[in-house]
């Protein structure tokens, strides 16, 4: 379990993270979503005790992580796959990590096999592809068989087979009762993996709920065509729906297609089209974070 309470981090006059409060539960995969620059990495670094919060607290299984003398048995982390020394072999890298935590040497070959790097164990990391580095980072996170795992953008650089493998791994780790916290800036990466979501933008919490709730909340709409647009719009608005003209059609939110049809029928208004549109989670995510993304392409700043 990871619990953040009013977590805040300021660097000089810049606020990277503001008053984040969320809980990451065991037995579930929790996606940590936000556009680039939303404060995800800063938050993860505070969870790991690498950065000290300016305000608030964050604990791992009830304790600030920095209070542990050795960390790997409490929390395994893949922060950035490039955060390894290219001059070492994969096995030496893991051997040093394992030894620092008093983890038996045999465990190194075990996790190397588990992530599919047994064949490349003796090669220098400098020659690894990004996908192989991700696997090495995941191997490092698994070393201590920890109850809590944190992965920062673990799918970057993985091929489709690798992505499927990682998703299966996350599901399995959660099924074993572990807390699995996975950051990403792409909703598409998370919608087939995560049970819960923590969504941030510009350092602030946008949503912390289950994927199902997030999907339900995300703006589904119904496109309606009628010859009596003005009448129908007034009618639906009176009944509490949101109505927006789109060309000759109306975009109705907050009301199911069946109810719209019934209301129109009762008033004998002819309908030429009645199309429910389920917004993709990606679109919902984009919409929620659009005004909080730090880096817009082509935006004047």
């Amino acid at each position: 379990m990871i619990e953040a309470n009013e977590l805040t981090k300021r660097y000089g006059s810049t606020t990277a993270v503001r008053n984040l409060t969320f809980t990451v539960k065991p037995g579930r995969v929790t996606g940590f979503l936000g556009p680039n620059g939303a404060g995800k990495s800063t938050t993860l670094r505070m969870i790991l005790g690498l950065h000290a919060p300016t305000g608030g607290t964050v604990t791992v299984d009830g304790r600030p992580f920095r209070d542990h003398a050795r960390g790997l048995r409490h929390l395994g982390a893949l922060l950035d796959a490039s955060e390894v020394h290219g001059g070492r072999s994969g096995r030496s890298h893991l051997a040093a990590l394992a030894r620092s935590n008093g983890i038996p040497r045999g465990r190194v070959d075990e996790v190397l096999g588990e992530v599919g790097l047994a064949g490349a164990a003796k090669r220098r990391i400098g020659g690894y592809s990004l996908g192989m580095r991700q696997r090495l980072g995941i191997a490092g996170a698994l070393l201590g068989d920890p109850p809590v795992l944190v992965f920062d953008e673990p799918l970057n650089g993985l091929d489709p087979e690798g992505v499927r493998w990682v998703r299966g791994l996350f599901r399995r780790l959660a099924a074993e009762g572990r807390t699995v916290f996975v950051s990403s800036h792409l909703m598409t990466e998370m919608e087939h993996t995560a049970d819960d979501l923590v969504v941030v933008g510009r350092g602030e919490l946008i949503a912390a709920e289950s994927l199902a709730d997030f999907a339900a909340r995300s703006g589904s709409s119904v496109t309606v065509r009628t010859t009596e647009a003005a009448l129908l719009a007034r009618l639906l608005t009176e009944q509490g729906a949101g109505v927006r003209p789109v060309g000759e059609a109306l975009e109705v939110t907050g009301m199911a297609a069946a109810r719209i049809g019934d209301l129109a029928f009762a008033q004998r208004l002819p309908l030429h089209e009645l199309t429910p549109r389920t917004a993709s989670l990606e679109a919902a995510f984009m919409e929620l974070t659009a005004d909080r993304a730090d880096h817009h392409a082509g935006a004047t700043r």
Binding site: L79, V84, G102
Partner: protein
């Protein structure tokens, strides 16, 4: 799920730092390159004296023996500078190598007890460079004296000051490495910390005059000057403000401990 437990042993951290140090090919190569440069300079200087011995007149030869020039050849000032440069860089890179790649975050997430990590690193670097430096100084002494023996001008380890020269030259290595480590921990950038180590260890003594009391005291408090005091025989007895070898050893000790403390503290305190 509850975590499996194991006792946090400092020896495990020493072993981990040992693995990290030797799993980089650059460690062995830079030590080897440094050793060859030092030996090349010193044996070359001794060979020069051997070769032109015939051209020295009787009084020059007597002065050579009287002034223990054999000891000067055993570890020349130039080789001392090379040793400081190489070891300062090795010490700096032992830390900045982790920052350059971001490995430091992986390291400190695995071992949140940062002071223990840095203390283990400092101890391993100290032990390795002390053994390396002392062995190098010993080999340099023996090789240069073998060359000078060809003119009956070689000295033995039993000669007054010989053992002190070997020890002082050898221990200059860990002092330089620890200073490099501390600067690496402060600057967190390889090039910057190597430049800083060179400036601090080799340039600063050049700007401090031996003639005035204040600057002389500051000059004597520099590790490279302390090495010269320990290695350079007799001459320091004639300077305006003489100082003891005990004082020079103390300078070594204070710099080593101060540098280690700085490296440990700065990593403990800052966001990583």
């Amino acid at each position: 799920m509850t975590p499996t437990t194991a006792r946090a042993r400092f020896t495990d951290l020493l072993a981990a730092e040992w693995i990290k140090l030797w799993s980089l090919r650059s460690t062995g190569w830079s030590l080897l390159a440094g050793a060859l440069a030092v030996l090349g300079i010193n044996v070359g200087t001794a060979y020069d004296h051997y070769k032109y011995w015939d051209q020295y007149d009787e009084s020059s030869r007597a002065a050579f023996l009287r002034n223990d020039i054999g000891l000067v050849d055993a570890f020349t000032a130039n080789s001392g500078m090379v040793l400081v440069l190489v070891l300062g860089a090795i010490g700096a890179v032992a830390v900045t190598g982790e920052y350059g790649s971001g490995l430091i975050r992986t390291t400190l997430a695995a071992v949140p007890a940062r002071r223990s990590v840095m203390a283990a690193k400092a101890l391993v670097v100290t032990a390795v460079t002390a053994v390396f430096g002392t062995a190098l100084a010993l080999v340099s002494f023996l090789l240069t004296q073998v060359v000078l023996d060809g003119r009956d001008a070689g000295l033995t380890l039993g000669h007054p000051g010989a053992l002190r020269l070997v020890l002082a030259s050898g221990l200059l290595a860990p002092v330089a490495a620890l200073v490099g480590m501390a600067l690496g921990a402060v600057a967190r950038h390889s090039a910057a910390s190597v430049v800083a180590a060179t400036g601090l260890l080799l340039m600063v003594p050049l700007f401090l005059s031996e003639d005035r009391y204040l600057t002389a005291v500051l000059r004597h408090a520099q590790p490279f000057t302390a090495w010269q005091r320990l290695a350079d025989f007799g001459r320091f007895g004639e300077v305006a403000h003489p100082w003891t070898t005990g004082g020079a050893w103390l300078v070594y000790l204070v710099w080593a401990l101060g540098a280690a403390a700085l490296a440990v503290t700065v990593v403990h305190r800052r966001d990583q």
